[in-house]
């Protein structure tokens, strides 16, 4: 008899139920299948009413993140064989409102990303005209921020963060790492502007350094490290302002 594995899927259909439920499905166990394959199998062959997000199937688009047995993971990178013969529970990412089944409302996340002004900011009058070409950067300068630029906005770090789950005002790991990505870019001059958001109470100081955001990150962005480094430089700013109020921040 062909092997099977049980998937327990979080169901929430707002027009039918006021509270979510769990629904079990038996799917063929295939060594090569990832959890996303199993959910797609359910959707195509067993129950077409299931809603979930996915796109690239190769860990690039960041849209198939879900809680798998309570751990936030990309479902396209989580193999069934990692769990077999245990059953697999799939839930929408923690911390976000659920729109339907496995689909979360990510507006909150998108607005946090834009809050940190994630683009290169130049001082007034210091912008290079297009005809003068691009801003040059050495490999060393690129290495400073490259790690933080690898984020795919999958939101796993938010789902892993108990601080965000308890208070969604927290700016959160990916947004702060993205702010750091531009702050550490040699072409950028917008750090002071970003500090208003990043160094605020809902910014880095809300983080208690649980560290799980970095543990679950599929791209090794290390947002926890980015946040701690931002805390350190914000503290240095404070003392510089205190001891040298006439000085100009770098």
């Amino acid at each position: 008899m062909a092997k099977t594995i049980e998937l327990e899927i979080f169901r929430y259909r707002p027009e039918e139920e006021s509270e979510p439920t769990l629904q079990s499905y038996e799917v063929p166990f295939n060594e090569e299948w990832v959890v996303l394959d199993a959910i797609n199998y359910i959707k195509d062959e067993i129950d077409g009413t299931i809603s979930h997000r996915w796109s690239c199937r190769m860990g690039v688009c960041g849209s198939c993140g879900m809680m798998i047995n309570r751990v936030p993971r990309l479902t396209c990178a989580a193999f069934l064989k990692e769990y077999y013969p245990r059953k697999i529970r799939v839930e929408p990412l923690d911390g976000f409102p659920v729109e339907r089944d496995l689909v979360t409302d990510m507006d909150m996340f998108v607005s946090k990303l834009t809050d940190v002004s994630p683009w290169i900011i130049r001082n007034e009058g210091e912008e290079k005209p297009v005809e003068e070409g691009t801003y040059l950067q050495s490999p060393g300068e690129l290495a400073e921020y490259k790690q933080y630029s690898m984020c795919i906005n999958c939101m796993l770090c938010y789902a892993a963060c108990p601080v965000f789950a308890l208070d969604t005002n927290f700016l959160g790991p990916a947004a702060i790492a993205l702010g750091q990505r531009y702050n550490m870019d040699s072409r950028d001059q917008g750090r002071d502007q970003r500090q208003e958001v990043i160094a605020s109470h809902d910014g880095v100081w809300h983080c208690t350094f649980v560290g799980e955001c970095s543990a679950v990150c599929p791209k090794d962005v290390d947002p926890a490290g980015a946040i701690q480094r931002a805390k350190l430089s914000s503290t240095a700013d404070y003392f510089k302002d205190l001891l040298m109020p006439w000085g100009k921040r770098k």
């Binding site: 707002p14 490999p139 290495a143 560290g211 799980e212 926890a224 701690q228 480094r229």
Partner: protein, 130 residues
């Protein structure tokens, strides 16, 4: 209408990393408590020999040894977990190469060892007894 899931008060019991995080946070109570205790000893010292002897008498009781052993374990856990995450905060480059995490954390352990050796030498090496 979106559904908002409530976070249970037991969230920190649901996964091992969260539990270890809470333990790490709570060990700071032991660190603060011991700082308070050392301040008390200094206060007793300032009050004169009688008061200080009484305080030393308290330390040498079996209950105090037990508390000190528990306190030592908690403070060790606190120190080790924090030293291990220092490379996340302190990032240095030598040329274009990032200084490896093991060197950053190792420097903290080396500093700890050197400070402990100094304290041990001050207390034991100079023949002064507590």
């Amino acid at each position: 209408m979106s559904y908002i899931r409530k976070v249970p008060n037991t969230w920190w019991l649901q996964r091992k990393p969260y539990f270890l995080f809470i333990v790490r946070e709570l060990t700071s109570v032991a660190v603060a408590g011991y700082c308070g205790f050392l301040l008390y000893l200094m206060y007793a010292l300032s009050k004169g020999p009688d008061e200080y002897s009484a305080a030393i008498g308290l330390i040498t009781s079996p209950a105090s040894y037990t508390l000190h052993m528990i306190g030592l374990l908690l403070v060790l856990y606190h120190t080790i977990t924090w030293f291990n995450v220092t490379p996340k905060v302190l990032v240095f480059h030598l040329g274009e190469e990032k200084v490896p995490a093991v060197i950053i954390a190792g420097a903290h352990y080396a500093g700890w060892l050197a400070t402990s050796a100094l304290v041990a030498w001050l207390l034991l090496g100079t023949g002064t007894s507590v």
